[in-house]
């Protein structure tokens, strides 16, 4: 008799769930884990994508791909790092065929777990070396420049420091915002280590900490803080500003952007990228999607909608941004930036992580 009341509740729950399942079932079909691996060398007209990028930005692109090719895409959205952790947990049982990530670190973690199939030369060669993996485990899709956001009510454009080294000056004490857990910030620290040496990087971080640098969880709260005048300067990725401007109107933006001088570690370009899971190595649909991402149409879409840098020839950067070439540092090979482990160790040592 003990079971009566739970049974009643379960009946109600079942009814409610069936209702809600029906309401969402028109847009998606739950894929079975085995669906992905069953199509060796063939196309079954569908594949599963784990997308670590914003749904608002990626959905229209996927719809375009679906209507162009007739392939239907099951997309699972979450943070890049959460998806990397999920993929590691799932291992070979993963229902995912393709992993689209917002930073090289998440792709590197999955590659290190040996879960990616090697991409063909015809795909990887579309993107210049330095903006893609060195071993063909994933390919770069877009570039994101590191910039300094500043509060235009407290500073004029020419008062903004042009190097990150200048940020340790006493006059910026408690005025600068950073996000030490953010992958893009960590890539910048890696660049600092590679360009200036370990000791200089450590000294810079220690000076920043001594100067009461403000710690944020992500890029966007830094931009909001600068936009509210809470901090004067913040280290972020360039497109956050363009997106916020699109939401609230560019004329309402109190925060403005400054590009550190070329060659400075503060001006490096990070990449987003995509990789093919091993179980989908022969999945023609999944491969077609990866090819699509490095095609002119998709690259132009990123330029127009996400304000990111295109990585293939023949598509030019968003208006108002310095050309990618001027930001590319000849002394820095982006494949040198894979020593993330040492960077996080340094950040932990200094006490920023």
């Amino acid at each position: 008799m003990t079971a009566l009341r739970p049974a009643a509740v379960a009946t109600v729950a079942l009814a409610a769930l069936t209702l809600s399942a029906c309401s969402s079932a028109d847009s998606d079909k739950t894929p079975t884990p085995s669906a992905a691996s069953s199509s060796s060398g063939m196309t079954d007209g569908t594949f599963t994508l784990y997308a670590g990028r914003d749904q608002e930005l990626i959905d229209p692109l996927i719809e375009q791909f679906e209507s162009d090719t007739g392939v239907s895409v099951d997309v699972r959205y979450a943070g890049s790092t959460e998806l990397a952790a999920l993929l590691q947990e799932e291992g070979d049982a993963t229902p995912a065929d393709v992993f689209l990530a917002q930073d090289a670190g998440a792709l590197g973690a999955v590659a290190k777990a040996d879960m990616f199939a090697t991409l063909s030369e015809s795909i990887t060669s579309t993107v210049p070396a330095g903006f893609t993996s060195t071993d063909g485990s994933w390919v770069g899709v877009t570039g994101r420049a590191r910039v300094i956001a500043y509060d235009s009510e407290q500073l004029s454009a020419d008062e903004v420091p042009t190097t990150v080294a200048a940020l340790t000056d006493e006059k910026w004490s408690s005025q600068v915002g950073i996000a030490p857990t953010n992958a893009s910030f960590q890539s910048f620290v890696t660049a600092l280590r590679v360009l200036e040496g370990e000791d200089a990087a450590r000294a810079w971080l220690e000076d920043m900490k001594a100067g009461d640098v403000q710690i944020y969880a992500k890029n966007s709260p830094i931009l909001e803080a600068a936009n509210a005048g809470e901090i004067t300067l913040g280290l972020i990725n360039h497109y956050y500003w363009y997106r916020m401007a699109a939401e609230v109107g560019a004329e309402n933006m109190r925060a403005q952007l400054a590009f550190p001088e070329p060659g400075d570690a503060g001006s490096i370009v990070n990449v987003t990228g995509v990789g093919l899971l091993k179980g989908a190595a022969d999945d023609a649909d999944a491969l077609q999607f990866i090819e699509y991402l490095v095609s002119e149409a998709a690259q132009q879409y990123f330029v127009d909608n996400t304000y990111e840098y295109p990585l293939i020839d023949g598509v030019s950067a968003p208006e108002g941004l310095p050309a990618l070439e001027t930001l590319t540092n000849p002394e820095l090979d982006l494949s040198d930036l894979d020593s993330l482990g040492e960077t996080t160790e340094l950040l932990v040592d200094v006490g920023l992580l």
Binding site: L4, V9, T30, E56, T81
Partner: protein, 535 residues
């Protein structure tokens, strides 16, 4: 509800009944066995953590844990847990006393208003505070977590005050005690289990919360776990840290158990349980109104105000919001929350009954195991169920059922606490009387125990549903591909900086979550009947 119960009963009666002696033996074993099964399911996250830690390199574990940074983060977390728990206890009991024992005008509306804070997810509240004030860091996290969690103490305390015997406080007064001492000596022992059970839920929530402390830029221990996943991509290290967090959770559960003590039952005769005479506040009532208004303004006004401001900031270039999407998300949020509450109830009933009726090691162990989920960050519980699902039930992976089960495990303590304290309130003597009058054990359960305890258990179920609606990290990992809830949509829009588009989702989430919150106040306010009168 009633007809569903009949259907279920009919279904059961259709099966042939076993011989009665076997049945009695089975009956005696059913409870402990189902409690053990439920506790093992609740312990899945811990089992997962042990598996992960076993894979770790011993010296790496020591390096990861033995450094000044971890110590700082731990002290930060302990400080926050203590501060928020104490504030919630004091504020919660004070509000409960005002609303249950005084002649304050408008107690009913105030009860509703002060419970509505439960409907506001702490990350939305934190966002509201950041958008409108300069409060950050420890005080920011303290304020947000306290304001969002006070009702977890207020509601059970009101319920306990309604059931508590007021006559003994009157006796203490006639013996010359001050009102304060009379409350402490006569009433507090009766409401202590309920209040402390609420405080435990608050403390565990603070321990495991990442969203609002991250927004407030207060570096708590969950920050270290997030770093392990996010920056180091090191699941093993994250597991090691999570074990530390789980250990802190177990310490909290043990501490609450010690402080809870035995349930004090005073004056069990019907005659003694007269309606207490409300305390006349006189001019103090203005202070009471003022205090309640301040709490309401801080806990509801600030987040709602910030959301309204973002709604007004909308421009043509802002991300569009489709009403259909909003409704679909709301529907799946409700469906999943109901299923999660059902799962939690199924797991909680055997554990709670065992804990309420038997003081055995088994009861203690199963109840403690049930609290683990709440002490761990959602991402850890989520990954543990990915692990469990793929290894044990691959068919259910990324299905609504696994997500509902995850909610059940995550929020089990809320249901276990409700089941336990409701059944503790049923005086065993009543059950004995029913037995001597010829009722079967099952008959005693349905006609006496469940009937009296049901409102309290129902409140626990509502609380689970309410919390499940606001849950984010485990939902992101475990939901079926393509399924959206209000919380995941909110996450998606805010991570794209589309705050103006996110505002309606946050408002609908608060509105939807307000329904169980309001039902909860009804359960609490309806506690006027005394257990004896329901017979």
């Amino acid at each position: 509800m009633r007809s569903a119960r009949f259907t279920a009963a009919g279904g059961l009666e259709a099966t042939p009944a076993p011989p009665s002696r076997l049945r009695a033996l089975g009956g005696r074993l059913v409870l402990p066995i189902s409690a053990v099964v439920a506790a093992s399911l609740a312990a899945i996250p811990l089992i997962y953590l042990v598996v992960r830690v076993a894979q770790a390199d011993g010296s790496a574990i020591v390096d990861a844990l033995w450094n000044a940074r971890i110590a700082t983060l731990m002290i930060n977390t302990i400080g926050l847990v203590l501060a928020v728990s104490s504030a919630c206890l004091v504020l919660g009991v004070a509000i409960a006393w005002l609303l249950a024992r005084t002649d304050l005008p408008g107690r009913r509306p105030w009860l509703v208003v002060s419970s509505l804070a439960l409907a506001v997810p702490s990350y939305v509240a934190a966002f509201g505070w950041i958008a409108t004030t300069e409060v950050r860091g420890f005080w920011g996290a303290f304020l947000v977590l306290t304001l969002c969690n006070v009702p977890l103490v207020t509601l059970p305390t009101i319920a306990a005050l309604r059931l508590a015997d007021a006559a003994s406080e009157d006796v203490a007064r006639t013996l010359g005690r001050t009102r304060w001492r009379a409350f402490l000596e006569a009433t507090w022992p009766q409401i202590r289990p309920a209040s402390l059970a609420g405080v435990l839920l608050v403390a565990l929530y603070v321990l495991s919360d990442f969203g609002s402390v991250a927004l407030m830029r207060y570096q708590a221990f969950t920050w270290a776990i997030q770093v392990a996943y996010e920056s180091l991509f090191d699941r093993t290290l994250a597991a090691v840290m999570s074990v530390v967090l789980a250990a802190m959770g177990i310490v909290l559960v043990a501490a609450e158990r010690r402080m809870r003590g035995a349930q004090a039952r005073m004056g069990s005769t019907v005659a003694a349980r007269t309606q207490p005479v409300p305390v006349a506040l006189g001019r103090w009532r203005w202070l009471a109104h003022g205090g309640l208004a301040v709490v309401a303004a801080l806990s509801l006004g600030v987040p709602l105000g910030a959301l309204a401001r973002y709604l007004l900031l909308r421009t043509e270039t802002s991300t569009a919001v489709k009403t259909g999407d909003l409704m679909a998300d709301a529907l799946s949020t409700v469906g999943l929350a109901v299923a999660g509450a059902g799962a939690a109830l199924a797991l909680a009933l055997p554990i709670g009954i065992l804990a309420a009726r038997f003081r055995s090691r088994l009861a203690t162990a199963t109840e403690s195991a049930s609290y683990l989920g709440l002490a761990l960050p959602g991402i850890v519980v989520g990954l543990s169920l990915v692990f469990f699902s793929l290894n044990v039930a691959p068919m259910l992976y990324q299905s609504i059922w696994m997500l509902a089960f995850a909610y059940g495990v995550l929020f089990l303590p809320k249901a276990v606490g409700a089941v336990r304290s409701s059944i503790v309130q049923v005086e065993p003597g009543l059950e004995d009387v029913a037995r001597t009058l010829g009722s079967t054990p099952a008959g005693v359960w349905t006609r006496v125990t469940a009937r009296i305890a049901w409102p309290g258990i129902g409140a626990g179920v509502l609380l689970v549903a309410l919390t499940a609606m606001k849950e984010l990290p485990a939902t992101l990992l475990l939901r079926p591909t393509g399924t959206e809830t209000l919380a995941t949509s909110l996450w998606r829009l805010t991570s794209g900086a589309a705050y103006a588009a996110a505002a309606p989702y946050a408002l609908v989430l608060i509105a939807v979550a307000a329904v169980p919150a309001l039902l909860l106040t009804r359960e609490v306010a309806g506690g006027k009947r005394h257990p004896e009168e329901t017979l």
